[in-house]
Symmetry: C4
């Protein structure tokens, strides 16, 4: 993202669709006109030197799609049943923190777009609006993304509120036990509080309970191990949570096939193959590169979502071909929201779905079940890596 624009030069969100779009990904191209540069650096940046965030995108370019001829696709569709839920298409709106920073309607607008396009939406624990407010705004399929809170009571309070507000599943994020800074955001001058409009309460989704005091560190202690990692999720926390709720529990942040196997054994509803959009360990492999081994590890039955790097319908096609049941949209959601609110998000989803349909049509796939590894070929000059154990 090269453009530098002072906050003064940023436009307010449109109330109509932007002109001149070629593709869903063009919302990312428009975003610098609507999001101040420091905030955009925070949204687009990965952790550290953006290596994993960059890898997430590059991974898709290492595959090509094989066109097929003469297929009868008149009854084609993109419907899928995911863990018992009928989906109109395999596109989902990922949990994105503090969307109020880019649009005054925040997650409410996302919920409206989700409802209009029959797209499942995952609300972030760190939402700008309370989970109850977002639930009231609509969204046929609403899931709640959960960070384990330092105290179990606080976690439980969030779970109960999500249950009562009608969220149909929990998505537990496990891949960021420690915060990792983004050099891009830091250099762009991003500072979390100032970037939020004054009328928005950051993290309004969080319970009022005070955060746990930082543990006291000895002289030889590490701020990482004896500090942040004291509150990091451990297997017993997962088991505890599974015992507290009847909501299906998804796990987000899985990359290693052994972790996938372990989690599948715990009885989770499904996994989200994700590296937190490149915002956790800088230098981790691309989500897409990890997908085949995770699918191989858990077998064909366990639902898998792919998160990270989806910018087009052919990206979605490749993820489905390599083992995902559906894909999640994070940054593109924020971009479209900033550009044109609920309308933008709905339009982005519509474009993406049509791009997926177009790719399916040309690849000769009438349904999602027809999409598989046989539809892809490795791009020349590329080796593929996958964490095989």
């Amino acid at each position: 993202m090269r453009q530098e624009s002072s906050p003064a030069s940023v436009q307010p969100p449109l109330s109509q669709l932007p002109a001149g779009l070629c593709a869903a990904a063009d919302y990312a191209r428009l975003a610098p006109q609507f999001i101040a540069a420091p905030l955009l650096a925070h949204i687009d940046g990965g952790s550290g030197r953006d290596r994993t965030a960059t890898a997430n995108l590059a991974a898709f370019e290492r595959w090509q799609i094989l066109p097929r001829l003469l297929r009868d696709l008149r009854h084609g569709h993109t419907r899928r049943t995911l863990a018992g839920t009928a989906l109109r298409h395999p596109l989902m709106l990922a949990a994105v923190a503090q969307l109020g920073a880019v649009h005054p309607q925040a997650e409410r607008a996302v919920a409206q777009a989700a409802e209009a396009t029959q797209t499942p939406m995952v609300l972030s624990t760190l939402s700008s609006l309370s989970l109850e407010d977002v639930a009231a705004a609509g969204g046929a399929t609403r899931w709640f993304q959960l960070y384990l809170q330092p105290q179990r009571a606080a976690t439980l309070q969030l779970v109960r509120r999500a249950e009562q507000a009608g969220y149909q599943a929990l998505v537990l994020t496990l891949d960021t036990p420690v915060q990792t800074p983004s050099h891009r955001a830091l250099r762009a001058g991003y500072r979390a509080p100032q970037a939020l409009p004054p009328n928005l309460q950051p993290m309004a989704g969080l319970p009022a309970a005070p955060t746990a005091p930082a543990p006291a560190l000895g002289a030889d202690d590490s701020r990482i191990f004896q500090g942040a990692m004291q509150a990091a999720p451990r297997p017993e926390d997962l088991d505890w949570l599974l015992g507290q709720t009847r909501l299906p529990l998804w796990i987000k942040g899985v990359l290693h096939p052994d972790d996938a196997r372990l989690l599948a054994g715990h009885g989770v509803a499904g996994l989200v193959v994700s590296n937190h959009g490149g915002r956790s360990l800088d230098g981790a492999p691309a989500s897409l590169d990890c997908l085949p081994a995770v699918r191989a590890a858990v077998g064909p039955a366990l639902p898998l979502l792919l998160d990270g790097g989806i910018r087009s319908g052919d990206d979605a096609f490749k993820a489905l071909a390599l083992g995902a049941d559906a894909v999640m949209l994070g940054r593109l959601q924020a971009h479209a929201l900033a550009v044109a609110g609920a309308l933008g998000v709905a339009h982005m989803l519509k474009l993406l779905r049509e791009e997926l349909e177009l790719t399916m049509a040309l690849a000769g796939c009438a349904t999602l079940a027809d999409i598989g590894p046989h539809c892809l070929v490795a791009a020349p000059g590329q080796a593929h890596s996958s964490p095989v154990v």
Copy 2:
């Protein structure tokens, strides 16, 4: 194509050969002086982000040609018999739509160049001039490129006109059941109607029959599957067409070896390995990368043409070495036509043939039959992909 030139700055076509050409590919370098930027973006652009159009070119650079010494090539030539037709050289003029947009003589000029250089020419269904007018202009070997029309009667009318006008073969294009936009052309401001000079009727080759009404879509229907794909070619259409004409039927747009095998079983005359110049599925493999597996799938006898990315005689040599019987020229044809009309197209073909002969001479190949995979070596640092099943 970086140059931006307003239509006002574009020259009229030359009536003599341009000066300072080093190679046939230089017609592409001159084209921006003769074709307005939006139209050139349309001609040169592939679909989407030009990934496949770019891959078509890059594929040739992944092969190197092995020189040989002391060969007696005094009786060398580039003649070949292709499906019963004697060719002076393995170069063909591909079907290109609406050539009237770049030269007032349109396909007539191409036919004159084809006759002058003894080059087979394929006329597009979407020609600027009627197929009868083009037939009257000459061309020893003329084939007709066919898109199946929404109504079979309209298709049949085209076939009959082609038969009566003396076209010797049909080339059925199957690779674009749905239109895919070019981002490059859209961003350059290309709009189909305005780009055509007012004295030219676009698609004059098409019958007067009205196009089929767009199918009515239900609320849950897809514009792709329940819309465009309703009229897409299906196997029964191919069988129907084969029963309607005695003209040899070639199929254009084959990339997957299974499709090649299937089509060979239907009794077609030959196949054109092509991705529509990167104008259909953006992200499909390069034509050249698919050629070896298609040749392996159909065996040595079925004629194969390679379309996509040929810019020089050594490109043609590589395609022949990897299994093609001849190659097709699309964009370079349009460039040469825009620069210098029939003279330009003929000159481009002459340069290309001499480049091929030069390559053959240095590679020690007296005839096309001497060209094979043993003449090539993979360029270092490159892996090769091929859709092996």
Copy 3:
């Protein structure tokens, strides 16, 4: 290093920490403000065309790190016992020549930082201050880097001084029997003597003994073979040295597994896999690329250090995963020293340790023993080389 700054524009070292650092590697980004361009070209440049210096950095980017979930890391630490010495972390300060050129406190400041951060330090034979002065400045774990002198008596004098000053090990550098110029430094106008501030005696660590006279060369003699290589270390020199001291003897500059095996057989304390920071043979492989084969050659027991290209905690993690017991910091030490003296070096080490801890935490490694090749995956599109014999 693009920045060109005249000596006049260079700042004096800070006496406080610089603002706006994102990572330890930022000391390299700040260095041009504190080191005159010719001297910086000498510090940062490798020999010849910088191929090996560049390769040292690139090697780390060919590996990715696999995150793991739900690990209990509350008791994590970075402690390790290396050849009997307890280390707080696997980071060491490499021998760097003439540090007085970048900071008036020279190696004294490094020793203070080493003591403050419990980091082992290796003092260069070519230090700006005498080894006794540096010993007096502190440093819990101090080793002495040794170049064999032309006369054994001079070498022995250095060894005895190091022993008496309490250095706990010797690090014999074997990889630069001949000096190789840096084109970058030469083109930047670097000339050794002028670059040093007048108040500093270069090579104050060297004994007063006169250097050996250059051997007289015959007409057919080579300045390399019959000149410089006359004084180059040979196996008998190593055996002699081992017989002269009870200090553990490390060998620096090993890349080939056969050399590693040979040296292990001589009874050395450990090896430093290094190409002298790319300052010896330009075109030699990256240190990291050689590490796995060296580890395989010597087995799991012999201590190995990795020197060359470490700029971050995840670089250190990768080196440990591929077989190193600890890593050495050279250029980054000089950069941090130039920016902020002892404070800068200590801060750089603290940042680096926390980056390593962060990487360990996200990769699920509680201790250094948990780090291994299973934590890494080859970055896509990369082949790995290793001098297997």
Copy 4:
């Protein structure tokens, strides 16, 4: 070569060594100050798009050299006996056409440098000075490069003159039966005659005999096959030549192992692995890439020279390691001659020899016989190609 300089701005050759050289390759960096841009484009350009000329250089960067420790190299040297001739070093001056274009002393200066540095020199058939004049200028080891002339009598006249002038071997160039233009040179405005100073007779080495008339071409004939290739060397020409002279006959331009095997069977003295500096078939593999397979094809005994891309002593080392007995210098010879005449060529050779010695010293090789494939490792991220049959 980016620099554009009008002929007016070009300096006359120096009569002293240039200042500020870091390496032999710096003569190439200085050349634009001494050679007018069009002529330099001709000298530096390969044929076509410079693909092979570029590949010749890139091939060396795909190998790395393994340093070795503790070797006794005090008796090291670079001497070698090549086909009975004792060489001081494995560097040879390749045949370069019309050196009078870059220096008034032309090949005479080269002969003086050859004598001063004990370097074998190959005089081009297309020299600016007669072979007798060059012989009179010195050069301990002088070979004559031969193009077969259209008439055998003319060829024989050249051979006899070479014999009588004391040339000790013939080097028959077989790789350019047809001329191929350089796009770079054409675009730079290079035209052969104008580029030569008026006081120089181009091709003064050629006999006065008139060139053969161009063969008359029929309407269907090819200018390549029925034109230029009529006079191209054939096996019987080689046998004829071998029967006409007792001089050892080397063959230049071999890339394919089958051609190497064939030629070895004809009793030639040795082979030069070369693609004519990338000036023949554009798109042929790099010379270095072909060397291992040629060496494997002819076995260890037949002398092999490597021509193409040598710019440094470590390049020479890599060629020797991969099977060459010596290497040839073409473009660097022209550059050094243009910069500083005989002095420049001699200096360039001295620098190159010392770079080779330095590389040998650091790689632990006392003699050329110690250099082999075990000294190299493939650079990471690189695949290697070789025309295996």
